[in-house]
Symmetry: C2
Subunit: 136 residues, 2 copies
């Protein structure tokens, strides 16, 4: 397989990772996702890792960099479907998924994204401006 499909559902892009992440595939996924975010104007990315038995440091870094890229393009990233064993291994290995929110499943991920979106929109205009200035 040459690329992981990116599915658009409403305001969200959904990616289900089912194969081992190799360098080329990971880079391709980053490119595809960035392009689709710009093209669709989606505000959320959900990455499903139900099928992954192992999340090693490379996969962890890939997920973090996807989240960072999405953030710059004004989209939040949520990783869903992590297996209990994967969570345990992550902690045992001391790996942290920097900048990544997690949720139990796709539906909860969607709720999380909708909630965080609502909160941003509820921010008073002044404060929102300050935030933009501060981070630029």
């Amino acid at each position: 397989m040459d690329r992981v499909p990116v599915l658009k559902i409403g305001d969200i892009l959904l990616v289900s990772i089912q194969v081992d992440m190799e360098d080329q595939l990971a880079l391709q996924l980053q490119d595809d996702l960035a392009e689709r975010i710009v093209e669709t104007g989606c505000h959320g990315v959900i990455i499903d890792i139900t099928a992954l038995d192992i999340v090693d440091s490379f996969v962890g870094r890939t997920l973090s960099s996807i989240a960072a890229i999405s953030k710059v393009l004004d989209a939040d990233t949520v990783v869903v479907g992590m297996r209990p064993a994967v969570a345990i291994t992550l902690v045992e290995l001391g790996l942290s998924l920097q900048g990544i929110s997690t949720a139990l499943n796709v539906e909860r991920g969607m709720e999380l994204l909708a909630r965080s979106r609502d909160e941003e929109e509820l921010l008073p205009p002044d404060e929102a401006d300050d935030e933009v200035t501060a981070s630029s």
Copy 2:
């Protein structure tokens, strides 16, 4: 990989097929889907085949049998994301996807399922009863 993830989104189960369908994987997917339909009471199944370069007769049969099983469990199946080349090959090979609806992408598949569901619900009770009797 031992199984294809089945994701629940609202009233719909979403399956994204990204790897070559082998006997064991296809059977496992049928089992998983049937179980999830019963467990969740979902009324629709969307199978995304964006990642498939080829749909041969085995994959065609698998999709048809998934659609048939879902139908008995009161769920409709829509196949989405078929590549142009796959559609051409299907026709050239004379393969028909029996009992399967198709849609261009996940969102249109969801609309299709919602529409067909609405139509069923709009059926007057008498007629609906007749239909059940006729098909049993």
